[in-house]
Symmetry: C2
Subunit: 383 residues, 2 copies
Amino acid sequence: MSVTTPKGFVASGVTAGLKPSGKPDVAVVVNQGPSSASAAVFTTNRVFAAPVKWSREAVADGQLQAVVLNSGGANACTGADGYADSAATASRVAQRLGLIIDNVAVCSTGLIGIRLPMDKLLPGVDAACAELSADGGSAAATAIMTTDTVSKQAHVTVDGWSIGGMAKGAGMLAPGLATMLVVLTTDAEVASHDLDVALREASRVSFDRADSDGCMSTNDTVVLMASGASGVMPDAATFQEALTGICVDLAAQLIADAEGAAHDIAVEVVGAASEADAVTVGREIARSNLFKCAVFGNDPNWGRVLSAIGVTDAEFRPDEIDVSFNGVMVCRGGQIGEDRTLVDLSPRKVRVTVDLHAGAHSATILTNDLTYDYVKENAEYST
Amino acid sequence: MSVTTPKGFVASGVTAGLKPSGKPDVAVVVNQGPSSASAAVFTTNRVFAAPVKWSREAVADGQLQAVVLNSGGANACTGADGYADSAATASRVAQRLGLIIDNVAVCSTGLIGIRLPMDKLLPGVDAACAELSADGGSAAATAIMTTDTVSKQAHVTVDGWSIGGMAKGAGMLAPGLATMLVVLTTDAEVASHDLDVALREASRVSFDRADSDGCMSTNDTVVLMASGASGVMPDAATFQEALTGICVDLAAQLIADAEGAAHDIAVEVVGAASEADAVTVGREIARSNLFKCAVFGNDPNWGRVLSAIGVTDAEFRPDEIDVSFNGVMVCRGGQIGEDRTLVDLSPRKVRVTVDLHAGAHSATILTNDLTYDYVKENAEYST
């Protein structure tokens, strides 16, 4: 169901032949209204893909009627020709469905630096438009997978309205949006501006805090479309809570299926002087290859946590820091704490809690360990 | 020879039993003068080890007569007791050799968060002091190895004076000094202040640009001692050139022996608007796990180079960037360039050249690829 759980949405996923594997690679999600209010957030990478440029312009007026997505090629670093390909893709959807071209967002994912085979993509778009249905959410979620091993979907129903979502992730997961494409749908009646505010806040505490490998993608896009088909106008706080919940759920799914990962790590920073400090410290730990290798080796190596914290400009005193692995405080006051052999890191889920004792703010960054399989997948990805 | 190449220095390396392997683990380098002018640079990590705190204070007056170094334990995150251990180590050297305790620097390397076994270390210090000789440079260089597979030494002779050096590295190599201990000696007559200026400049363009795994250590120390025993006072430019040459040489040796590495990568950034921009861009590329995995897989994946550049605030236009792998310009003007199959990444040495076309400045960052063996070594290191 996912993106087609809310009323007013149809979706589909088909195989256009972009992937050597022959797996589904083109998806379309259509908002049938009555409203076409929408919002989107994009990668902050200054090297961004053609579809990001296209979709930024498309959503600038707060209106979208459809999103077309492809895996099997990122259409990044492809210049003016690549941009024309994105435009042609949107145009084809608009033609087939009788939509305004500027109301069609485009998302692409896959290898950087190769042109999309338009002779395969456009017939795929035709097929996807022909197969749109209110049951098509799962097919769409499957078609946007790259190295994902499972499709990511979520939905929530609240007092007569709902939110649905699908996501793809796997690699290049980093702050400022991971390598992810996310489509969120709702049948609530929410104006474009309010969608934008809600989406930015929800992304800030979910996707922006999923940092699998520290690498920021050229293609990250999160689109939120509201059909208004439920006829319900939720209050802002209720909508925010539901939307944030869906985004946190999808972000956790992305981390749980990150390339080659053997552990899903929640780095929880508490006692920070500010939320920004908590995020900074959490990210620096999440980006430490030595820390990530240690977790892979089931080793509660708190020295690597402290050495990562030490390069930040966050407010702390080294001799006041506590570090716990799965509840065992192996470092207390910046020194040796509980016996490290008490820590069991064999479960997939690991929680590292850092108390800076510098204030009352906190944040949690989700990341993964660094494994043989991560290296293998990313050494062999394009060859 | 290395640190004992210049006149006025003796050194030794012995086995105190700090390492389970039974390999040498304590080294002493002594400056017999007539001058004891010295300088040092240290990790900028805010979580720094006890010996760093001790040595910063020891060198504050620009005078050192000896350095005592141990592998087999970093004495980091060990609190006041750890600091007392560093002081006791310096005191033992001073007693044995009739030196002033404040003229003895202390360096430690190994696991963070364990106390040093002083009952083994102090007898080791005694033995090292008893074995000091003008031929002891190589023994000292061997005793400071941790996961290094070869000892690192260098020396240069210039018009009657010389500089020698030894280094240990292997893991946690990152900007702001890698996990490294380096001792440099010279018999040139140079005042403390001039040594300090020269050492900072030499480190800035050598050790500070060696970034193997993006992780900054708690113990990095580079000590430079000048005996003045040659009686020669070189001019500042000549001394700087020789010192920088030794530091660049040792930094390259560190990268060439980094943990688990299969490629030594020089990321050369040219056409930058400033040297700072060139360093920023080079470091961001050197810290991209995806890029590093690609090189391990012999894959000239320039898209990962561009996506790393894109997260920096350096001056550039995405559509003006050229990227070459070993001389083949696979990306020209931010788009597909030469055929990537022309690139041969099978040799250990790889040069990635990025031209930002934004100015006339340049910098080269040395790094390594990300390999199975890196993960293995760092997953198993403390267990």
